[in-house]
């Protein structure tokens, strides 16, 4: 089980012939991911590690016998077009690895995807992996042991660090989801928590947040209102980072003083979610929470 993706998920790689796309196609195939097609405009007819490459997503969908998810390694300038191409061809889960996409473009395609009932993971995400089944992303697979913890994070390497800490204490992971490091992303903590809520294989959820934005506060508020809930443990990076002044005043006005470490920690703790002081403390908090 796990959420959103599993061993049967049929995956397309957009930008498959690029350095990153090709490299991670190999790693994903090694993990067992069912990659059925790749797209690079102009490279149709070739193949990458045995995966057939098409010029358009349309052809990939038609020729491959159906695609459930796409992972995008296309450079920032062309990534939005790749996202629209995937959405317009009916692909319902899109993992956008690309970083550096202009925020106005992100606003538009995230909005468009939502209307088309398409899930966007990222942009600027390490991806999603259901342990032991499929990896649609770039995370080092070996640090994730299979288990009952749902892991959702705004971060990349820190997630691997925490997965390793979990593993040291025999906590495995059901599915790990990287929300993406950009200010506008497709999913937030609430969305992913709700998927975990419906997954019988997930017993508890670890949330890895960081300063900036108010995603953690929003989740805390939401969690407070739930009647049935699974235990959640959190870690927030950036306690020692000085307060940001992003966007002059307006950004701060929107979030009404939320976004700093103290605000996030307070909100989570008031919602009954223990917050670890350091990554290695998370397993012991889980011991208590479960």
């Amino acid at each position: 089980m796990g959420i959103l993706v599993n061993k049967d998920t049929r995956v397309l790689v957009q930008g498959i012939t690029g350095r990153e796309g090709s490299f991670h196609t190999k790693l994903m195939l090694e993990y067992g991911t069912k990659i059925v097609a790749g797209v690079t405009p102009g490279k149709g007819g070739t193949n990458v590690h045995g995966v057939p490459v098409y010029d358009t997503v349309k052809e990939a969908v038609e020729e491959s016998g159906g695609i459930d998810a796409s992972i995008i390694f296309v450079p920032a300038k062309f990534a939005p077009d790749a996202v629209y191409e995937a959405i317009d061809n009916g692909i319902k889960l899109i993992v956008v690895i690309t970083e550096g996409i202009p925020v106005h473009e992100e606003l538009k395609f995230v909005r468009y995807a939502k209307e088309h009932n398409t899930i966007i993971i990222g942009p600027n995400t390490p991806g999603i992996m259901t342990i032991g089944e499929t990896k649609i992303g770039i995370m080092p697979a070996h640090v994730f042991k299979k288990g009952k913890i749902g892991l959702v994070s705004r971060s990349g390497t820190l997630t691997y660090e925490i997965a390793r800490e979990l593993g040291k204490k025999d906590y495995g992971v059901s599915t790990v989801v990287g929300l993406g490091g950009d200010p506008v992303t497709g999913l937030n903590f609430i969305d992913v928590y709700n998927y975990f809520m419906n997954d019988p294989d997930t017993e508890a959820v670890v949330i890895i947040g960081e300063i900036g934005g108010d995603a953690e506060e929003r989740f805390a508020k939401y969690y407070t209102l739930l009647r049935n809930k699974k235990p959640v443990v959190a870690y927030i990076a950036g306690k020692t980072a000085p307060p940001g002044k992003r966007m002059g005043h307006a950004g701060a006005i929107i979030s009404m003083g939320m976004g700093d470490y103290a605000s996030k920690r307070k909100a989570l703790e008031e919602a009954g979610i223990p917050v670890a002081d350091k990554p290695s403390e998370i397993p012991s908090l889980l011991d208590k929470a479960i």
Binding site: L107, A250, K278
Partner: protein
Amino acid sequence: MISNVINGERFLKLYEYEAKEIASKYGIPIPRGYLASSPEEAADACKKLGEVALKSQILVGRRGLAGGIKFAKTPQEAYEVAKQLLDSTIRGEKVNKLLIEEKVCIEKEYYLSITIDRAEKKIVYLVSKMGGVEIEELVRQHPETLLKIPVDPLLGYRPYMSRIVAKFLGIPREYWRELDNIMGSMYKIMNDYDADLVEFNPLAWKCGGGLIALDAKITIDDNSLFKHPEFLEKAHRELSDLERLAKSIGFSYVELGGDIGIICNGAGLTMATMDLVAYYGDKPANFLDIGGGASEDRVKKAVKILLEHPRVKVLLINIFGGITRCDEVAKGIIEALEETQSKKPVVIRLLGTNEEEGRKILEERGLDVFTEADDAVMKAVELAKSITRNGVI
């Protein structure tokens, strides 16, 4: 500012005069004014404009409170004031240019901006009847004074929004069209310049009637600079020299106040490592994220920057190799140590891709390599404390 860089939220701030040039190009009313780099130019401007405001062109906030805005009634006075302001330093930033503007008679000051509401994934207008003040503080205390109007990013600005604002601010009917033009132009600027903020604080109501943008702020999304070559060279001019250097090599770098230099890969892990330093009782000297897949050469440059940094007593390197390969990192460290001949202690924690090869390279040179982050940080803190105690660097 640090959290911007740390969270990968990077942007280019425009100076007031640059923002006003854009605003004016889009038909938004602004005071008449001239840019001055010398007291002579300031005096000339005052001759043309009469009574003037002399506004320091700096990027830090609250310049008014810090004495960055002064007034003059005569060219002589303008000359004197400009002489004081130019080359002075306000909140750590040197004043190189002044914007000399006609003094405008105003009755009221409003706040009007357009920005991105990240959580709602929309564009949003923010409006307050009380402008010209520390809007953030005001809103925190009196949230009811703020009007928010969301804009669908696929649909864009619609004139009816200006009528809501007009009613909220109490603008007389005959000026609704002007407000519509201003708000429409703000949206166009957001789109045409990939801005993430266009702010007029205050947008003032003139004594004779009519709106005027007395101050203007525009910030541009860094990720969009490739579309705007005219801004590329201006990018990151507000950073320190060291920050700019790091940036030019391709790192995210922020100066902090402590003595333990930090190099990691990934913003989250870097912040977590900083926090761990604090947890174990010391302070980080910096934030340095080498990003994903850094080459030997880039690692070398990162290490050199910190080895040569005067405040850094101990260098702590915490790498979780995913795309990044530990052997490349190890080689970069060795090269930097050889090139600088630095005697500063270096504490290294390596994990992930090609970990064994990396460990081998480092241990051959007599460097200890930790497996656990906690152990590495504790060691670094201990070393920094002993150096402080012994007064040795």
